[in-house]
């Protein structure tokens, strides 16, 4: 299939008071249409910077980000981001209006908005909570609502920045399998950031491992395990160890450098 996203020689630099920090150095990769790519890396490897650059929130120093044949420069509804933060829903709108409003901004008619909101709420099992305000929902429900809003906009690519990172283990496991089910149903292209090896294997068609200071691509590994994937199978465990090994060399620093980076990641 055709490349949906193409990143070419991307560099991102942060200018700070203690000098400049090279957050990303010479990042090149592509994501195929309908592919689920997970990006795995330790805190501070620049994986959040990378996805924020693709979303258009972060200006690259040099390099190109192509969506189809178009180069992207600023945020837009063709690349919808799902954040880790629970406050990504607008608290002054009900769960359903959060979705209908997003659709309204993007020019959808009233009937279509209502229909699509109902459809996507049902898809994430929130059909009974459309009238609730975000503060009345649990963390997991908020993330599901945010995913519903993103899917409703039918973006060319879904960018997910550790959306399950703040959830408890059980909720996280439930949402992981729900996300795979949604992705198989809708066929969206997804880039998913995580620092959790198991999550990266469970979800991704491929896992891109990053190393830090400066943020580089360490390796891209195919996940040739049939879905639904179970962590206790030998091939899952073998891949887990491979990825762990890739992270490990980095964790202790290939050349003794410290892996400190600004930002939440």
């Amino acid at each position: 299939m055709a490349d949906k996203v193409l990143i070419e020689n991307l560099f991102v630099k942060f200018e700070g008071e203690q000098g400049n920090i090279q957050a990303l150095e010479d990042i090149s990769f592509s994501v195929k249409e309908g592919e689920f790519l997970t990006i795995l890396g330790p805190s501070g490897c620049g994986k959040s910077t990378l996805i924020r650059s693709i979303a258009g929130f972060q200006k690259p120093e040099k390099g190109r980000i192509l969506l189809g044949k178009r180069q992207v420069h600023e945020p837009g509804p063709d690349r919808i981001m799902v954040f880790q933060e629970f406050d990504q829903l607008f608290p002054w709108k009900t769960v359903k209006s959060n979705i209908t409003y997003a659709l309204k901004v993007n020019g959808k008619g009233k009937e279509e908005r209502e229909r699509m909101a109902a459809h996507y709420l049902e898809m994430v099992n929130l059909q009974d909570f459309g009238g609730a305000f975000p503060h009345q929902l649990s963390g997991g429900m908020k993330q599901r609502a945010a995913i519903a809003r993103s899917l409703a906009l039918n973006p060319e690519i879904l960018l997910m920045d550790e959306p399950f990172g703040s959830l408890d283990a059980q909720t996280r496991a439930v949402l992981q399998s729900e996300l795979v089910r949604l992705w198989q149903k809708v066929g969206s292209t997804i880039i998913f950031i995580t620092h959790n090896i198991q999550e990266a294997i469970l979800l991704g068609d491929r896992v891109m491992v990053m190393s830090s200071a400066p943020g580089r691509i360490k390796d891209i590994v195919d996940v040739n395990i049939a879905r639904p994937r179970l962590p206790e199978t030998p091939e899952f465990m073998a891949l887990w160890h491979t990825l762990y090994g890739l992270l490990e060399t980095k964790r202790f620093g290939e050349n003794g450098k410290n892996n400190t980076m600004p930002g939440k990641d």
Binding site: Q88, F90, N106, F133, P134
Partner: protein, 267 residues
């Protein structure tokens, strides 16, 4: 005792109970006969004065005029505050300017501007408006600016991600997100201006036969109609309570409480 229990448990009954005690003390002091009716009138004569001034239409007219002035000042003040805050957000240089003038003028009580207002506009509506707008605009700017600065980065990015830009982003994301602060600004502006209004009216008096509650108090004191002075004070208190504890409380309930932006108040 069930009645006592009911009174101690219900907030409104509790408050009514305290008010009853205060009125009782008042009436007791009057009944000792140590004070002239001109200084401390009987509750009954205050009530009669209130009923009389309402039935002649005087109280209604004066109240309406005061509310008209404050409404006009709120419209002008919030409009100006909105423009200044919006411009401050667009240009950092202008933001510095707004910050400086707010720092200078915010601590200045509205009534302190009276002599200047007199010099500039003379006696009349415009002088009072100047004072009212002054007491409205600075707290509003201060709170709105703080509110806009505290808008969640994630929500702003979600807004930009959806395709919102510029003014649309401000009105659709920043204003509702900063609404708790904006509402606080309005509360302070209201209470500042309501207090300044009564004071200013007493000093300016009426222009062209018109005058508000402050002027009514001044006039009645001049004619030694003390019960009418207290009746006007009662109306001023009542409006204050109504706006602060009913109108603002209701707006709060419909908006930021419903949205989970503040913790629900205990009963």
């Amino acid at each position: 005792m069930p009645i006592l229990k009911k009174v101690t448990e219900n907030k409104i009954l509790r408050q009514a109970f305290f008010i009853a005690i205060l009125l009782g003390v008042w009436q007791y002091i009057v009944s000792t006969g140590n004070y002239s009716e001109l200084i401390l009138p009987n509750l009954r004569s205050i009530w009669t004065a209130l009923v009389d001034s309402i039935s002649t239409g005087e109280m209604g007219e004066r109240t309406a005029y005061s509310l008209y002035l404050i409404g006009k000042a709120l419209a002008i003040g919030s409009g100006l505050a909105l423009i200044l805050t919006a411009l401050a957000m667009l240009s950092p240089l202008f933001a510095d300017f707004v910050k400086t003038i707010t720092t200078i003028f915010n601590p200045l009580p509205g009534v302190a501007l009276l002599p200047i207002a007199l010099l500039w506009f003379g006696i009349g509506e415009n002088s009072i408006l100047l004072i009212l707008v002054h007491s409205i605009i600075w707290p509003l700017i201060l709170n709105a600016t703080t509110g806009f600065r505290s808008v969640s980065r994630t929500q702003l990015e979600v807004g930009r991600n959806l395709g919102l830009r510029g003014l649309k982003l401000v009105s659709s994301v920043m204003v509702p997100s900063a609404f708790p602060y904006i509402l606080t600004g309005f509360k302070i502006s209201w209470s500042n201006s309501w207090r300044s209004l009564v004071a200013a009216e007493m000093i300016f008096g009426a222009s062209g036969g018109q005058g508000g509650l402050g002027w009514l108090i001044y006039q009645k004191r001049f004619f030694l109609q003390t019960p009418y002075v207290f009746a006007a004070l009662f109306v001023i208190i009542l409006i204050g309570i109504l706006v602060e504890n009913v109108i603002f409380a209701q707006i709060e309930k419909w908006t930021i409480q419903r949205w989970g932006m503040i913790i629900q108040k205990e009963k």
